[in-house]
Amino acid sequence: MKRAALLAAIALLLGGCSGDWGWYVVDPRTPTGWTNLKFLLGGLWYTILLSVTAISISVVVGLLVALPGLSQYRALRAVNRVYVEVVRSVPILVLILWVYYGLPPVTGITIGIFWSGVIALALSDSAFQAEIFRAGIQSIDKGQYEASHTISLSYADTMRFVILPQAIRRILPALGNQLVYMLKMSSLVSVIGMQELTRKANELVVSEYRPLEIYTVLVLEYLVLILIVSALVRRLEKRMKIDERN
């Protein structure tokens, strides 16, 4: 219902516009418009693939970085602090450029555009994931560790079966935020030539000279994508809550 109303509003907005607007460039009723529209939407797959791959990696790295941050040993906590502070201080765009142009000569390994993007996005996001996980794990009551201790669970089992399942439920809204953030930040990978939504739009603007219409479509593409993702995250949250509370 809500989605239908939203689409109707958008249609009205677009239809009501005249004069300087040149919607022909993406009008699906004309062959060129249809081709252009398909070209723009063609970036959707890479935007999603890039974001989902990057966030899958950053969640794992973030967790692995969060754990030493909770250690009783100062040296391990320092590892966590240094990683988080350093990674968090580098702007994502700078990180993308550095990974793409800097990492191959440093490591001697050629990294393609896609993996450069994934590495940069995942690296940048992992620092935030680490902080989210640390906060989530710290919010779990000390009694849960003590109970695990008394039934002889190892540290790994305590984390896996007792602490993390509870911590993840609590940080789910924050993880959802990060996914949305990631979908948006993936647009920056366009600067190294990744054929995702933003890059496609840029290329079409260069050949069609219609930035207003094309970028408006781009805005709508992100809007719809992220509204759908947000709805999915909210549904997941609700389901996990029911699991726990019943």
Binding site: G143, E146, A147, H149, T150, I151, S152, V162, D243
Partner: protein, 250 residues
């Protein structure tokens, strides 16, 4: 072999423990024989909980020695694992795992720490759930149960690890009055079965009924140790008399 040496289930010798400037345990010594039921009481902050938490290494003592079943508690992994396997513990706040069902709470330890096959772990869990008289709650989540039921699940969870010694840290203090008796009944039944038990509790009726030995602590020290008959009838020290007066006649 020194007095109450390695044949005691628990042997605490000259143990001290500080929290910052606060002296929680001051030169505490206590022996618990196999099959003995000890009730520890005393005002809050007297070190009762700290004492039993030191016995299963939830707190580290700073000096003195603690032996469980002859094995000395130190920083080694081996001693820690051995002691955890022998000692079960029930907490004031239950500390059940809220995201797992009652049955999953009970089988987690046997499955992961003991490596029991699922069938066997389940049978074990159901056996102890029956013993604490709530087998019908197996599929529920802790928050769907009353406080008394939750504490009984916590006792069953501990028993599923088949410990030789059970420690109770104020098991009824967080319960509504009408639920205290159902937990005490389970504990009494456990005591009758011959389990070695150390209970920190203010339930003096329970203490009179099951304790072999009463221990009174104050300011981090054991002030008095006596069988319940003498302990309640003729407490030796002024501090102990005071305390008993307060909790028995309010």
């Amino acid at each position: 072999m020194d007095a109450g040496g390695s044949d005691a289930a628990i042997s605490v010798r000259n143990v001290c423990k500080n929290f910052g400037d606060f002296r929680a345990l001051n030169d505490v010594s206590l022996d618990v024989q196999a099959g003995e039921r000890v009730v520890v009481c005393g005002p809050s902050g007297s070190g009762k909980s700290t004492l039993i938490r030191c016995v299963n290494r939830l707190e580290k003592h700073e000096s003195g020695t603690i032996r469980v079943d002859g094995l000395e508690l130190d920083n080694s992994r081996r001693s820690l694992d051995a002691i955890r396997a022998k000692v079960g513990m029930v907490f004031q706040q239950f500390n059940l795992f809220p995201h797992l069902t009652v049955l999953e709470n009970l089988t987690l330890g046997p499955l992961r720490a003991r490596g029991k096959p699922p069938e066997e772990a389940r049978d074990l869990a159901m056996r102890y759930l029956t013993r604490v008289r709530i087998p019908e709650q197996a599929e529920k989540y802790p928050r769907q149960l009353s406080g008394g039921q939750q504490q009984r699940v916590a006792i069953a969870r501990s028993l599923c690890m088949e410990p030789q010694i059970m420690l109770f840290d104020e098991p009824t203090s967080a319960l509504d009055p009408e639920m205290i008796s159902e937990v005490l009944e389970v504990m009494t039944e456990l005591a009758r079965s011959g389990m070695t038990m150390v209970c920190v509790t203010h339930e003096m009726g329970f203490a009179k009924g099951v304790a072999d030995t009463m221990v009174f602590m104050d300011h981090g020290e054991i002030v008095e140790t006596a069988p319940p008959e003498t302990f309640f009838a003729a407490p030796e020290t002024e501090r102990c008399r005071d305390f008993l007066q307060k909790i028995l006649h309010h």
